[in-house]
């Protein structure tokens, strides 16, 4: 057996409208290879085609072109009920006319699993999601968080090769979401099933995933581990979508291997890093994350990317202080300064109008082609 659980080869999906111009290009030539046992997340803004991609894997939508392979087998003529995948729907889609136990047993029953085995597996699945005592209730008689667990148990009890989850935590409140994120990750580790997880919440994606695919407008822009996605975004969109960042616009004036110098205003050079193969003369964006800029009260020793700046606004948020500063040539940057000293002495903190110095290391300034 191959170690690729799900593969999408050049898959596109266009929803036909009543007229030509009404048809929607939801997914556009995407290629993905999800490894067996992996927690793989599709992340992107609303309408970027995440649900469509998941539904094509589940078999509810037919790709307009391209081919989907599950465990190496092409899926184009396999109906949803014969695919080795199960789905956890965003609204859970529990059967209202069946009890919790009957809901969980549904997949086993339609496959004709013997009664005794059904009962044992249903019990195990409900224990797995920590809901052992609600089996005789109806879905309408349990809370949203519990419904979510039942939906999970109903899918897992079938021991699918791949579990598809479409924003399964979307309907839960913040605290419960966080608890469930942790649980889902632990659960995935425990059952060893490949998870393909859809979300538009970047924090959720970063905490849970082994790898993330960033999507926008029907295309996959980057696939990588959370660290790769955050630290080495391949373009402006990804850098901006994941976490917060500052952009400086400029033109490349020197390149030495991965290092390059960008003029962001006449006579203002910035030293950054590039993995894009930029050339002298290219117009580029430099992405610098706010927490990677150091701020100094007094002029430090000379170093690259040192600027004298003016503090514009200061917001104390507990773990750090978020400042807006203006560089001499006019660019504004956000800076997160970690609070590493416990004090209530007002004079310790920066105030609007203060003079200060900022600096960043060249490896923290990512030079991206425009």
């Amino acid at each position: 057996m191959s170690d690729i659980a799900v593969e999408l080869r050049d898959v596109s999906k266009t929803y036909d409208g009543a007229r030509q111009e009404q048809s929607v290009r939801a997914v556009h030539h995407i290629n993905l290879a999800v490894r067996a046992g992996e927690f793989f997340t599709l992340l992107g803004p609303s309408g970027c085609g995440k649900t469509t991609t998941l539904r094509m894997i589940a078999g509810f939508e037919v790709p307009t072109s391209g081919e989907i392979f599950i465990q190496g087998k092409p899926m184009s003529h396999v109906p949803p009920y014969r695919r080795p995948v199960n789905t956890v729907f965003q609204n859970y889609a529990l059967f209202p006319h069946l009890t919790i136990e009957e809901n969980v047993a549904f997949g086993l029953r339609v496959k004709g699993v013997p009664k005794a085995e059904q009962e044992r597996r249903v019990r195990e699945a409900l224990e797995l999601v920590r809901l052992p005592n609600l089996g005789h209730r109806r879905p309408s008689q349990i809370s949203g968080g519990q419904q979510q667990r039942v939906a999970l148990a109903r899918a897992l009890v079938n021991r699918p090769a791949v579990l598809l989850l479409d924003e399964p935590l979307g309907a839960l409140d913040y605290k419960l979401r966080q608890a469930m994120q942790f649980e889902l990750k632990a659960l995935q580790h425990e059952v060893g099933i490949t998870f393909i997880y859809v979300t538009h919440d970047q924090e959720e994606a970063l905490t849970m995933s082994d790898r993330i695919a960033i999507m926008n407008q029907g295309q996959v822009l980057q696939v990588g581990t959370p660290v790769q996605i955050y630290e080495r975004p391949v373009n402006r969109f990804v850098a901006n979508f994941i976490g917060e960042t500052n952009f400086l616009q400029g033109r490349v004036i020197e390149v030495h291997g991965n290092r390059c110098v960008v003029e962001v205003a006449s006579g203002v050079p910035v030293v950054g890093s590039t993995y894009d193969g930029v050339q002298v003369g290219d117009r580029v964006s430099i992405s610098i994350r706010p927490e990677k800029i150091r701020i100094h009260e007094s002029q430090p020793d000379p170093r690259p990317n040192l600027f004298e700046v003016r503090v514009e606004t200061v917001a104390y948020i507990g773990s750090d202080t978020q400042l807006q500063i203006t560089m001499p040539h006019g660019d504004r940057l956000r800076v997160y300064d970690q609070n590493d000293l416990s004090t209530v002495d007002e004079s310790y903190f920066y105030a609007a109008g203060d003079q200060a110095w900022i600096s960043w290391r060249p490896e923290n300034a990512l030079v991206l082609k425009n």
């Binding site: 009920y81 789905t87 059967f95 195990e124 920590r130 809370s143 519990q146 059952v191």
Partner: protein, 288 residues
């Protein structure tokens, strides 16, 4: 008009309207126990004679039985056909879907008299003799739109991806229909059946045109109005039917509501959040 007058106006409007609606029915009940063949005041005394004669009149009981048979048969057929149409138009987006809806709903807006004449002509064209069967056929036609409306409302209210969830879990198309779609639609189907039955049971205009030698109850009652002496028996029957219909309608409505009881949306998670400690899952057996 000042508010007080307006309020007393609406009060009296309500009283009069209610009286107009229900007083005749109340009178019906009262006269069914009145010991006189003429339906006039003053009342002459209490009797159960009319009910007694009612249960001795073979013809009349026969016509009741005919109406029950026509009602059950036409409602069963209409419920089956109407449910299929409802599932098709709600679940599938096929070409000509609008036409199907329009054709199925048409009998709602065609006067029964017109429909009756039309069906009469149609049956005589193809040499089908009039009988209870032709009445049944007519009642199927008028009951289908009722069934479609009632069942479609239920299907539309159903969460959209329950059927997908069933297929995802391994149920085929037919498995999904029988394990998910129909069970969820079932209370609505029963309500539709009962509504159809009451419609058929007291339907006169169509039956009048389509009936053969065996009358349905409304047709029989109409024919009896010529004999004043038998009028109180008909009144007693009407009182009984009234009570039975009310019970049936209340039951149908109860069923419909029972069926539509919304599954509680994914709310109230706040309370759970308090109870739920963020600790990892512990499994006893392990599912994989």
């Amino acid at each position: 008009m000042d508010r007080k007058v307006l309020r007393s106006f609406s009060f009296w409007y309500f009283v009069v309207a209610t009286a107009l609606l229900y007083l005749p029915i109340l009178l019906l009940m009262v006269f069914s126990f009145n010991d006189s063949t003429s339906l006039t005041f003053p009342l002459s005394g209490f009797t159960l004679r009319w009910y007694e004669r009612l249960f001795q009149s073979g013809e009349l009981l026969r016509s009741v039985w005919n109406s029950v048979a026509v009602g059950v048969a036409s409602s069963l057929v209409a419920t089956a056909l109407g449910t299929m149409i409802a599932i098709a138009v709600v679940r599938y987006n096929f070409p000509g879907r609008g036409v199907v809806v329009a054709v199925a709903a048409m009998p709602l807006v065609i006067p029964y008299v017109v429909l009756g004449v039309a069906l009469l002509i149609a049956f005589s064209q193809v040499n089908i003799p009039l009988s209870l069967w032709t009445v049944t056929a007519g009642h199927v036609v008028i009951n289908i739109p009722l069934v479609v409306l009632i069942v479609a409302a239920r299907l539309i209210g159903m969460e959209p991806n329950l059927e997908e969830a069933a297929m995802d879990l391994g149920a085929t198309y037919w498995g999904t229909l029988f394990r998910v779609t129909l069970p969820i639609a079932f209370p609505a189907m029963v309500a539709a059946f009962l509504t159809s039955f009451t419609t058929s049971f007291d339907e006169f205009a169509l039956a009048f045109f389509l009936v053969g030698p065996e009358p349905t109850l409304p047709v029989y009652i109409f024919s009896q109005l010529r004999y004043p002496s038998r009028l109180p028996i008909v009144v007693a029957l009407a009182a009984l039917i009234m009570v039975a219909s009310v019970l049936l309608i209340v039951f149908a409505e109860w069923l419909r509501r029972y069926g539509q009881q919304p599954s509680r949306p994914a709310e109230a998670t706040g309370r759970v959040a308090e109870r739920l400690e963020p600790r990892p899952l512990r499994s006893a057996g392990g599912v994989s």
